[in-house]
């Protein structure tokens, strides 16, 4: 159980996140939506323990996140970051095994190896196993990082999985697959929180959606509850039509054309 009560984050007199409250229980998948600069990544950094909230209380399994040590947190939550830059030519399977580092001292156990194999099969990266990470395409690297994150908490009950734009740079097949994996894990008891930009993907996979604007929580509810033309205009400042997908009965969003004035170029 992760509970945020009125958490704020302030840096250099700027409030990046302001009085946000929400909670998530095992089995739920929560998607965070919002425009650039709305405070999504800052919120995620607080949830991961990287940043301490300037105000408010944030508890994971009834203990303040900031009171956990780094090794303790590593055994309870995993984070898929937006940017992952590696300069050394590690092999793909070596990168994935790093996700098991919190679980072993010197040498990986048989179980550690089995989990890596299983996850790499799931993410479709087994055939990349012996390749240098630096030689992979951007989308392949992203899937390898996803594998590393998943092996870290694979065998941890009620683990917290945080993902910052996990589908950026992935093709359509792997966008669906990545979120399907996250969703399936939430059904196994994980708490999944993911930042997304694609409203339709959010509608498709989220149990609940948190919409942020200017660092504040604007709306919080199921896709059908919060994804309306009015709400989307408030948060993203775009005009759109929202329909109901006849098969899934989930909202389905189509942006309207926006006009750009280039008169100064003529």
């Amino acid at each position: 159980m992760l509970i945020a009560e009125n958490i704020s984050y302030e840096t250099g007199n700027r409030m990046l996140v302001r009085d946000v409250s929400f909670s998530i229980r095992p089995g739920e998948m929560l998607v965070v939506l919002g425009a650039n600069g709305a405070g999504k990544s800052t919120l995620l950094r607080m949830l991961s323990g990287e940043r301490k909230p300037s105000k408010g209380s944030l508890t994971l399994h009834h203990k303040e996140v900031s009171h956990y040590s780094a090794p303790e947190l590593a055994l309870k939550r995993a984070v898929l970051n937006q940017q992952n830059v590696v300069n050394m030519a590690f092999l793909t399977h070596e990168i994935v095994m790093m996700g098991r580092y919190p679980h072993y001292q010197n040498d990986p156990s048989l179980k550690d190896r089995e989990i890596c194999e299983e996850v790499m099969k799931l993410t479709g990266t087994t055939h990349l196993s012996e390749r240098s990470y630096l030689s992979l395409s951007g989308g392949e690297q992203q899937r390898v990082q996803l594998s590393r994150i998943l092996v870290q908490i694979w065998d941890v009950p009620n683990a917290l999985l945080l993902m910052d734009e996990p589908v950026a740079g992935l093709d359509l097949q792997y966008q669906q697959q990545t979120l399907a994996i996250a969703k399936a894990l939430s059904k196994k008891g994980f708490m999944v929180i993911s930042i997304l930009h694609d409203i339709n993907l959010a509608a498709q996979y989220a149990d609940r959606i948190l919409m942020l604007k200017n660092g504040r929580k604007w709306y919080d509810g199921t896709a059908s509850e919060v994804l309306s033309t009015k709400n989307i205009y408030e948060v993203f400042e775009i005009d759109s039509d929202v329909f109901t997908n006849p098969k899934t009965l989930k909202p389905f969003f189509i942006p309207k054309n926006s006009t750009v004035n280039l008169s100064s170029i003529s």
């Binding site: 991961s48 990287e50 040590s69 780094a70 090794p71 303790e72 947190l73 590593a74 055994l75 995993a78 984070v79 970051n81 940017q83 992952n84 830059v85 590696v86 300069n87 050394m88 030519a89 590690f90 092999l91 070596e94 990168i95 790093m98 996700g99 580092y101 919190p102 010197n106 630096l134 590393r148 870290q152």
Partner: protein
């Protein structure tokens, strides 16, 4: 990966043993390799009744053995700290020199050379030598601590700032070194130049024993940080998310590397390029897993310096070339080759 990790360990150890035995026999007094081995065996209590020349035994004990031992220690120190510093900076082009360690050592050494001549002209050579070594070691430590402290904000040290601070400290130490060099007299200039080019010529059992702990502790402790340094390759944030206490690790790596490099520079002067090239070569052979790269870099560094010392003592014997010149002459082309071959893959 070109060869198996264990194969590389075995090959490096064997090559180091052979190079060392060969090097022990070379010099003004030539000693056949068989005699070298026999004398070594005798020292270990084997073949005690075999006959070897007293002169050979003396030369080996007093001159050659400490020199070869010093070369092995200095090489291991430079090799392993190069690998560790590259790991912490997440950059295959980093080197201990980059964070000001060598520049700090040089500055203090030059100060000691000039001041010693000016103030303590009466001091004996040996005391002066120890003063020089101590000064260089202190300089390395001061530079490393300065760079590390400058790079700290809110209790966290930033690697990019650390590099920039290193560049600044390098420039400052370089300018001060230049200033003092400018004021030095002819004899001091000779000493300064000699020291800056690096040499194992000062080897005695005392110097070997003096630096042994400073080198051996990092050589045996750093390999245990292999896993942590691997995680660092993912990024500091990611390493922290994997449960590493990144500040503690950075601090320990800086301390251990400064210990090793400071001690090496203190007794042998500036020997360039070993810290850069050795880990690079090791990674080409066995891959980049630091668990194996760190110990292999110590072995490879020891081998490289033993060979370089052998060359600089024999190429134009009886004149001895500075070993720093040899490592740079051989190292630079190799480094440029790697750079050109891999430049597409490098991101700084």
């Amino acid at each position: 990966m070109v060869i198996q990790k264990t194969t590389l360990y075995v090959l490096l150890t064997a090559a180091l043993f052979m190079a060392a035995s060969f090097s022990l026999g070379l010099g003004a007094v030539k000693i056949p390799v068989t005699d070298v081995l026999l004398i070594l065996a005798k020292k270990l209590g084997m073949f005690t009744n075999s006959v070897v020349s007293m002169q050979h035994e003396g030369v080996l004990n007093i001159v050659r053995l400490p020199r070869v031992a010093l070369g092995i220690l200095v090489g291991a120190a430079l090799g392993i700290s190069g690998a560790a510093v590259q790991g912490i900076f997440r950059n295959p082009l980093a080197e201990p020199g980059l964070i000001g360690i060598s520049a700090g050592a040089s500055l203090m050494a030059v100060i000691v050379i000039v001041l010693e001549m000016a103030l303590f002209a009466s001091l004996s050579n040996l005391l002066g030598y120890y003063l020089l070594a101590f000064g260089a070691f202190a300089g390395a430590g001061i530079a490393a601590v300065l760079v590390y402290q400058i790079s700290r904000t809110d209790g966290k040290s930033n690697v990019a700032t650390m590099l920039l601070a290193g560049i600044a400290i390098n420039a400052l130490a370089g300018a001060l070194t230049g200033l003092i060099t400018y004021m030095a007299d002819d004899q001091q200039l000779r000493n300064i130049t000699f020291w800056m080019l690096g040499s194992l010529g000062g080897a005695t059992w005392e110097t070997v024993l003096a630096i042994a702990p400073f080198v051996l502790i990092p050589v045996f402790v750093l390999p245990y940080m292999g896993k942590a340094l691997n995680a660092f390759a993912l990024g500091e944030t990611q390493a922290n998310q994997l449960g590493l206490r990144i500040n503690r690790i950075k601090r320990n790596v800086v301390i251990l590397s400064t210990m090793a490099v400071g001690a090496a520079v203190a007794v042998s002067g500036i020997i360039g390029f070993v810290g850069l090239l050795v880990p690079h070569t090791v990674r080409l052979l066995i891959g980049v897993d630091n668990k194996y790269v760190l110990p292999a870099s110590a072995l490879m560094g020891a081998l490289m310096l033993t060979l370089a010392d052998m060359l600089c003592r024999t190429i134009i014997a009886p004149i001895e070339l500075p070993i720093g010149v040899i490592t740079a002459l051989l190292g630079t082309p190799l480094f440029l080759y790697i750079l050109i071959k891999d430049k597409k893959k490098l991101t700084l």
